[in-house]
């Protein structure tokens, strides 16, 4: 559905995007994560066709965004960051106007507008001026506008930015509903949102892809090399005998419990937890806490960004 082949974008001497390659199959929901200034929005603009890459190609459904601009843009529904809209227009008029820009036949314009209004729960707001709507409703108008021409690829740049929790929940629900019919790129820095909504996560930092995989894979990968924290009443020697386990730190607590920070030697953290549990059970010692440290998407993300910053400081690509 979407193919990025070694795309670069330079703003003068600043290399905003440095050779990003990505392939997204039809129907997949991809979350693009990254800190501010990582190159997410620049990448998305190159996909949407509003910004040409300095180097490399972007193809949407097989159509090159530079050579076959019209065909490529027909296949994209784009919700830019901040949802820019015309405040003086009424909701239905704005959507009708967008159908004309996308060249929908006259007979289809009305039905497409009505369908988008219904789908984005805008029926009661259809005659309201956009400038008088709340931020959440404006977001829905932006989404409706992106959906009008039933594009196979939807690009949503910060779709829940600035919304209150209820509005975030509504937008998330809408995204889930849309997921079946569209390939989606969701750009966000709200990690739980991306983790919940997306099949795949791409982490961008300093203009390059730092990680790419399903949320579970990324967490598992990080957790595999993570530390296991066990708070139990076991003897340190008992734990030391567990194959593949290396006790990094022991902290004796006042109440008789001991906190062990353990690392696996070529053993995934999951297996390590199982072994600690089994050893304690065999000795009949109680366990109060047994968990992997460094096993959340947030920790994966922060770890990767810190690594990226270090690489950047050292002048590595």
């Amino acid at each position: 559905m979407l193919r990025l082949d070694q795309i670069h974008k330079n703003y003068g001497a600043v290399r905003a995007v440095r050779g990003i390659s990505l392939e997204v199959p039809r129907g997949q929901i991809v979350g693009i994560l990254g800190p501010n200034g990582a190159g997410k929005t620049t990448t998305v603009r190159m996909i949407a066709g509003t910004l040409p890459p300095s180097r490399g190609t972007v193809a949407v459904d097989g159509f090159d965004t530079l050579a076959q601009t019209r065909q490529a843009r027909q296949r994209i529904g784009y919700l830019p960051e901040g949802t820019p809209l015309y405040p003086e227009m009424r909701v239905a008029s704005y959507l009708r106007y967008r159908t004309k820009l996308f060249g929908l036949p006259r007979g289809v314009q009305r039905t497409a507008t009505e369908r988008a209004i219904e789908r984005c729960w805008l029926t009661e707001m259809r005659t309201r001026r956009i400038g008088t709507l709340s931020k959440g409703y404006k977001q829905r108008v932006g989404l409706a506008s992106a959906l009008l021409h039933s594009p196979p690829l939807l690009i949503l740049d910060e779709p829940t930015s600035g919304l209150d929790p209820a509005q975030i929940a509504q937008t998330r629900k809408l995204m889930r509903e849309l997921a079946g019919d569209h390939t989606m790129l969701v750009i966000s820095h709200i990690l739980p949102e991306v983790e919940r909504a997306c099949d795949r996560i791409v982490i961008i930092s300093a203009g390059t892809i730092r990680a790419d995989g399903s949320p579970a894979d990324l967490i598992r990968h990080a957790a595999g090399s993570g530390t296991v924290l066990a708070v139990c009443k076991a003897n340190p020697d008992t734990l030391a005998q567990i194959p593949g386990l290396n006790i990094k730190k022991t902290n004796k607590m006042d109440d008789g419990w001991t906190a062990f920070e353990c690392e696996g030697e070529s053993v995934p953290a999951e297996t390590l937890r199982e072994r600690i549990g089994a050893a304690c059970a065999a000795q009949g010692t109680a366990i109060r806490e047994l968990r992997t440290v460094g096993g959340s998407l947030e920790e994966v993300y922060i770890g990767l960004i810190e690594q990226s910053n270090r690489d950047d400081a050292e002048g590595a690509p």
Partner: protein, 238 residues
């Protein structure tokens, strides 16, 4: 011709009518041009709108930049250029649509001045030749001024800078043609004189429809529209 030009033009025109600044521009123009007409209608003087056309030339120097200032810079400022550029339409269509929207607003601005023609008809028997030619000249002049404004508007995201920049550019052209030509040698004086819109408009007001004048206004307008398109295209690459 792209079918998206018309919706863009209509949206632009409607947007100007939905904002207070649009109505202020119309009111300002009608007030000033109305004063010019009121002064020119005197017993014993010929029933013509020559004074109105002469005054409109000067009023348009201010009014046209006010019409053109938001054409592109407002899109840049508000970020609405992003979804517009993501639509399957060319930059050329966007610029032409915006320009036609501005011209439509100019025609809306001029439409109420037909009352002056009705007033002349009521008071005496005016010669319609110079009036029709005068309106043609005024429209062509407005089209040129809006094209200049469109170019400057496509270079900045500030509507104030667009307004002042256009005003400055139009005054510069006016001064270069009027005053500058007297201070330079041949052939530069003739080149500068050829840029003068004042003499061309005076011909229209007399009822002279010269195709050279029409070609001048249309071609220079087209030139500025092309430059505005190039400016918008290059903005994508920056």
């Amino acid at each position: 011709m792209s079918t998206s030009i018309v919706p863009i033009a209509i949206r632009e025109w409607a947007a100007m009518l939905r904002t207070p600044s649009g109505w202020i521009v119309i009111a300002l123009y009608l007030l000033l041009s109305g004063i010019a007409v009121a002064v020119s209608i005197q017993p014993g003087l010929p029933a013509s709108l020559r004074q109105f056309f002469g005054a409109s030339h000067l009023i348009l120097l201010v009014v046209a930049p006010a019409i053109a200032m938001r054409l592109m810079s407002e899109e840049f400022r508000a970020g609405t250029i992003e979804p517009l550029m993501a639509a399957p339409i060319s930059d050329w269509s966007i610029i032409l649509g915006k320009y036609l929207g501005g011209v439509l607003f100019l025609l809306t601005l001029l439409a109420p001045t037909l009352v002056y023609v009705a007033l002349l008809e009521w008071l005496s028997a005016p010669d319609y030749g110079p009036i029709l030619a005068g309106y043609l000249g005024l429209t062509l002049l407005g089209m040129l001024y809006i094209a200049v404004g469109l170019l400057i508007s496509s270079l900045t995201r500030s509507t104030v800078v667009a307004l002042l920049g256009t005003l400055f550019a139009l005054m510069l052209i006016e001064l270069a043609a009027g005053q500058g030509s007297a201070h330079v040698a041949d052939p530069y004086d003739r080149i500068l004189m050829a840029l003068s819109v004042r003499t061309r408009l005076a011909d229209f007001a007399k009822g002279v429809i010269d195709t050279a004048h029409i070609a001048f206004f249309l071609l220079t307008s087209a030139w500025f529209i092309c430059l505005a398109t190039v400016a918008t295209e290059t903005r994508r690459w920056r």
